[in-house]
């Protein structure tokens, strides 16, 4: 009897089929394509969702699965490169999240795209299908190279979808920027992948059988050997000889290189600049990018290969600091934005910062948890924003809104649910996960790794800003009086908009309950379901990708030690308090009938914030102020010097030819003279040489 695992490959392939249908039928027989490709897409993602759920169910019974699907390259006298699937709790969870969000986004698109009369729908749904396919394939990847490949394809899809409205000036530019900036990150990632392959001869995340190794495990052995236990695996030792690094150093380099890709895709400082621009894409695409696919890919990757990162304290610290800093940094920028989606964009950057902080601080569960909750509430918020945008006739400026609460209650309440989750207000999902991230950073920071405290501090501060900008957004959009005619009589939205909102609204409110660590600690109840889910079975090969093993690595290799003396209540209360303080401030300032901008009070900081700390400027300057002039200089050099030499050689030859032929001046006595002179010269020369005289 066929089990769920037999259909693993179908999870990504279903959306791929939808992509092909939308592409081919859309090109050759567009009339045959129902709803411009939406229906195949919805069916495919629904199928993926069902299969994913089935997989998750199967996984929950403790049976995991890994399988090589397709050998891309059969290495002769060297290692293979292959595509394989790895279904374990982490990937199963992610599959469900991705397919669910993708499914809802497809449904929502019916309202957002079809009903709004957009053209090019087959292209749109083809893009969505490919996007979903790439992300799902990325999630189930059982090796780093395959992960990289689909990671890149995700980037391609984001390019295609962000630039969907290619006839306008903005979207193509944003799409280019998104791809280029993430490509910059992927550059480091690819070096990392290649480095991993070269170092370990494999890029598998998991060693499944005898003789088939995984790179985190090999790294572990090498580091153990460096500490005096066991022997370095032969090929790793050989490679380390070649590069001449200590294993710790070299692995840290590899880890950081891969992190480059993560920073790019997950929009961490300093490669976060593409993400706000990416709002040029259709809103459902933003939801997909931010919640479940592209941006999530980076963080997911770190979680996926946590067995490697857990060995490297330096890299972990960097991850934590980057994450904490990004969380704070992005949150401050979100405070002054005027457009709905912009606020959400910066909140995304900030929230992924939390996840990175969690991963860096040893909070594998916490980060994964936050990844999940964030997926739901951020998808919700974007779809809610999309709903508002439909209503507002595609005007996104919050200052033109106001008072939408009454006109679109479903949107309002679901949006509120998402906002509460985002701000981290108990008991909404975001509270539990964000609190856990901060808690982990705190206990390890105050334990053996004080550097994490810096991350904690930044993360904590960001909580305040998060509360503030979230509710500023809510109040400006939904509360007060309608500030424009559009807001007075907004466009209605259909079921296809409301249905996804409701589903996600419920999830945003409740999904946090699956891992209420503070409650568990206080009550001693065994209710940390996610932790159990990710713990990994003992005594099987899969244990190496379970939380227990990671924890063990963190302690042994990264030297993480928790300060258990801190309670759970105080930290939770502090962060909740800060969130409420932020929300309260927003309420004070903006929950009034006629809100005004209070940014003047910020003084000089305002300009800095409006300009996003000049991050775009310096990156544009790097591209256009440094690279481009450099390229032009190279071009001038090439045309002038290098080609000049080539042309010079030819000119000199021809000039010499023109001179040489002047010897032949037409006067025959000169010829005779030259002939005689030459003969005499030859005679003299050879006479001297031959000793005639």
């Amino acid at each position: 009897m066929a089990g769920a695992f037999d259909f693993t490959a179908a999870v990504p392939l279903l959306p791929f089929a939808a992509f092909l249908i939308a592409l081919l039928v859309g090109h050759f027989a567009p009339r045959l394509l129902p709803k411009g490709g939406a229906i195949p897409g919805i069916l495919a993602t629904a199928g993926s969702l069902l299969l994913s759920a089935w997989l998750a169910l199967t996984v929950s019974q403790g049976t995991y699965h890994t399988e090589t699907i397709y050998t891309w390259v059969v290495g002769q006298n060297t290692f293979d490169l292959h595509f394989g699937v790895l279904v374990d709790p982490l990937s199963a969870m992610m599959l469900v999240i991705v397919s669910l969000v993708a499914f809802l986004v497809h449904v929502f698109s019916l309202g957002y795209m079809n009903d709004e009369g957009e053209t090019g729908l087959p292209r749109y749904y083809a893009g969505l299908g490919l996007f979903t396919f790439s992300m799902l394939a990325f999630v189930v990847a059982d090796n780093l190279l395959m992960a990289f490949m689909f990671f890149e394809l995700v980037g391609l899809c984001s390019y295609l979808l962000i630039g969907f409205h290619f006839r306008e000036a903005g979207p193509p530019s944003a799409a280019k920027k998104a791809f280029l900036v993430t490509r910059f990150g992927d550059y480091f990632f690819l070096i990392g992948v290649v480095g991993v392959l070269a170092t370990f001869g494999t890029s598998r995340f998991l060693a499944v059988s005898e003789g088939v190794e995984s790179f985190p495990h090999l790294a572990e052995q090498a580091l153990l050997a460096a500490q005096g236990e066991g022997a370095t695996p032969e090929h790793v030792a050989g490679f380390l000889d070649v590069v001449g690094f200590e294993p710790q150093t070299w692995f840290a380099i590899l880890g950081l290189l891969i992190l480059g890709g993560v920073i790019g895709k997950s929009a961490q400082f300093p490669l976060h600049t593409w993400l706000p621009d990416a709002m040029e894409g259709p809103t459902p695409v933003s939801a997909l990018i931010h919640a479940a696919t592209m941006v999530a890919a980076g963080v997911y990757l770190v979680a996926r290969m946590y067995g490697f990162y857990a060995l490297l304290p330096t890299v972990l610290a960097i991850i934590a600091l980057v994450g904490g800093f990004t969380a704070l940094f992005a949150a401050t920028m979100g405070v002054v934005k005027d457009e709905l989606k912009q606020v959400l964009a910066y909140s995304t950057i900030s929230q992924y910062g939390y996840m990175m902080l969690g991963l860096g601080a040893g909070g594998y569960i916490a980060a994964t948890f936050h990844l999940m909750t964030h997926a739901f509430f951020k998808a919700l918020l974007f779809l809610g924003a999309g709903s508002v945008i439909i209503a507002m006739h595609h005007n996104e400026d919050m200052w033109d809104m106001g008072g939408l609460k009454e006109k679109m209650p479903v949107t309002y309440y679901t949006f509120l649910s998402g906002s509460l989750a985002l701000a981290g207000i108990v008991p909404f999902a975001g509270f539990w996960s964000k609190d856990e991230v901060l808690y982990e950073a705190l206990i390890y920071g105050s334990g053996e790794s004080p550097i994490l405290l810096a991350g904690y501090a930044m993360g904590l501060l960001a909580v305040f800003f998060t509360g503030f900008y979230t509710f500023r957004m809510v109040f400006l959009t939904f509360h007060g009086d309608a500030r424009t005619d559009t807001a007075e009589s907004p466009h209605g939205v259909g079921w296809n908009v409301k249905f996804p909102l409701v589903v996600l609204g419920v999830l945003a409110a409740t999904v946090g309950l699956i891992n209420m660590t503070p409650v568990a600690k206080l009550t001693g109840e065994h209710i940390e379901f996610l932790k159990d889910w990710l713990a990994g079975p003992q005594g099987s090969a899969y244990a190496n990708i379970g939380y227990e093993h990671y924890h063990h690595l963190l302690v042994d290799f990264a030297g993480y030690g928790a300060n258990e003396s801190l309670g759970v209540l105080v930290p939770a209360a502090v962060s909740l308090g800060l969130a409420l303080a932020g929300a309260g401030l927003a309420w004070r300032l903006y929950s009034v009938p006629e809100p005004v901008e209070h940014t003047e009070k910020l003084g000089g900081i305002k300009t800095v914030l409006y300009n996003n700390y000049y991050q775009d400027e310096y990156q544009v300057w790097l591209a256009e102020g440094v690279t481009l002039p450099l390229a032009r200089a190279a071009d001038t050099f090439d045309q002038g010097i290098i080609d000049g030499v080539v042309n010079g050689v030819s000119s000199v030859s021809l000039f010499a030819g023109g001179r040489i032929k002047r010897i032949q001046d037409g006067i025959v006595t000169h010829y005779a003279a030259l002939l005689t002179l030459s003969l005499v010269a030859l005679l003299v020369a050879f006479g001297l040489l031959g000793g005639w005289f």
Partner: protein, 516 residues
């Protein structure tokens, strides 16, 4: 006799097309070009060789030998055959020629029969280049390729076609001459009495020198190596010997550019692989750092030059310089992934650069301009072309599951496994090319394809002719097929590359063995 038949059929087709009236020349040439395509695919299906052509242990497919010329003690024999390295290149040549002929239907409106005939002549000699196993036979074909290309650029090219044609002609001829002297000096020093590449390889492997002109064997090898390297580097082209390329590309008519970038450049790296790296691995190893510097500079500098260009063709031309740098990097790595990746990249880049040039050509056919600033938002008017252009550009950027990625990633793995000093650093630096390539292609696409439509041209922007579209779509599909299933070629490539690696264990990377 299959190879001879293939070359002969192509040659006869060329003559037939030359005598045909202009009106039917294009269609006739395309129909006739399908014969070599079919032939090469049939060969590919029947291919049963193993190992490397230049090692005596290997077996060759479709090998034939015949006496040709005897010069004193030296025998110059007709000797052809294919191994895993040449087979993919043969297929590449036939397929690309056929599609290039198709892509010529629109732009070539004068002296058609001559044009198509020259294309087929070029194919015939390209087939010879990739199958010849005797130096002189190879050299005949190698030089003959220049002739059709000279005419293709000179007659049907752009405004500065005469300059570009003569520059291409003389520059590459200089290179061949230098290479010839280097190789011949090497052969005469050896204790062999033929120019058969197999015999020369084996004599060099055994260091059986008869004379060294008083230079010492090592010096002689180094001198010969670099004479040949220079000769091939011009063809590749490697910075700083590349300046003929942009001129040739920009002036050449699109189908000629397709052939130039798609196949002719590969001759250079193919020859490097066969001569420099198979015959003199020791020298390649000793000077690996120097060669790697050439490779890396080509990649980065070429990409930077592409970044500064405004002409789409010039962009693609310089990016070819950049991409071919990867191939050299793969060669110098000298391990299975490096050498195999280099070979694979030749095919991959052949298809992709051919595709890029065709796309540019399709746009040019319609708009009669290629300047980035003149066009904007033409995706609106030519959706299919734009879609293929996007696909091609991403293929060029090395998008996974397209052929370019496979080639590049193999090369990068090889480069990382290489054991010459700083190999990893060189590889990492060269890899930055993938960012720059994304930069210039994305900029160009954004300006030309997207945004509000405008066209600074007197011509109406209308969708491309169906045969043009057909050619580029086929190429895109081929690129994707090769990207998803590189084993189609990579299996036989590895098979041919492995003996090289085995023959020179010093350069082999630390990692061997199966799945680890």
């Amino acid at each position: 006799m299959l190879i001879e038949a293939l070359i002969a059929v192509t040659f006869v087709s060329a003559v037939a097309v030359m005598l045909a009236p202009d009106k039917i020349a294009g269609k006739l040439a395309f129909a006739l070009s399908l014969l070599p395509v079919a032939g090469s695919l049939w060969m590919f299906g029947q291919y049963d060789a193993s190992g490397n052509a230049l090692f005596e242990a290997g077996t060759l497919a479709f090998e034939t030998t015949a006496k040709w010329i005897t010069v004193g003690p030296y025998a110059l024999n007709w000797h052809v055959g294919v191994d895993g390295i040449s087979m993919p290149l043969v297929v590449l040549s036939t397929v690309l020629t056929s599609l290039a002929i198709l892509s010529a239907w629109t732009p070539i409106q004068e002296r058609q029969s001559q044009f198509y005939s020259l294309m087929l002549f070029m194919l015939a000699s390209l087939l010879g280049v990739f199958t010849a196993l005797d130096f002189f036979v190879w050299f005949v074909f190698w030089e003959f390729v220049l002739v059709p290309m000279y005419f293709l650029i000179g007659i049907w090219g752009g405004p500065r076609r005469k300059y570009a044609a003569i520059k291409f002609f003389v520059y590459t001829n200089v290179a061949s001459l230098v290479m010839f002297i280097g190789f011949v000096a090497l052969v005469f020093a050896l204790d062999v009495n033929s120019f058969d590449m197999i015999a020369v390889t084996s004599a060099l492997a055994n260091d059986s020198f008869a004379t060294t002109y008083g230079l010492g064997a090592e010096t002689l090898k180094v001198v010969a190596f670099f004479a040949m390297f220079f000769g091939f580097a011009v063809k590749v082209p490697t910075v700083p010997l590349h300046t003929w390329l942009p001129d040739a590309h920009v002036q050449a008519p699109t189908p000629a550019s397709v052939m130039l970038a798609g196949v002719l450049l590969k001759m250079g790296t193919y020859a490097m692989l066969r001569f420099n790296f198979t015959m003199l691995p020791g020298v390649a190893r000793d000077y690996a750092v120097l060669i790697a510097i050439f490779a890396v500079v080509s990649v980065i500098y070429g990409a930077m030059l592409a970044l500064a260009q405004q002409d789409l063709k010039r962009i693609v031309a310089y990016s070819s310089v950049s991409s071919m740098g990867y191939v050299i990097l793969g060669l110098v790595a000298y391990n299975v992934y490096g050498l195999g990746g280099a070979t694979f990249q030749m095919v991959a880049h052949g298809l992709i650069s051919g595709l890029m040039f065709m796309c540019v050509g399709v746009i040019y056919n319609v708009a009669h301009t290629r300047m980035v600033g003149d066009l904007s938002g033409i995706a609106d008017k030519m959706p299919v072309t734009a879609a293929v252009f996007v696909a091609a550009a991403f293929g060029y950027m090395g998008l996974p599951l397209m052929a370019g990625f496979a080639g590049e990633v193999f090369i990068f793995i090889g480069g990382f496994q290489a054991t010459f000093p700083y190999a990893q650093l060189f590889t990492a630096v060269a890899m930055f090319g993938i960012v720059v390539v994304a930069g210039y292609l994305l900029f160009a696409m954004q300006r030309v394809l997207f945004g509000p439509f405008s066209a600074d041209t007197d011509y109406d922007i209308v969708p491309a002719a169906s045969h043009d579209t057909f050619a580029i779509v086929v190429l895109v599909l081929l690129v994707i097929v090769l990207g998803t299933a590189p084993e189609v070629f990579y299996g036989m490539i590895q098979d041919a590359v492995n003996p090289m690696v085995d023959s020179f264990p010093e350069a082999t990377a630390v990692l061997t063995g199966g799945e680890l």
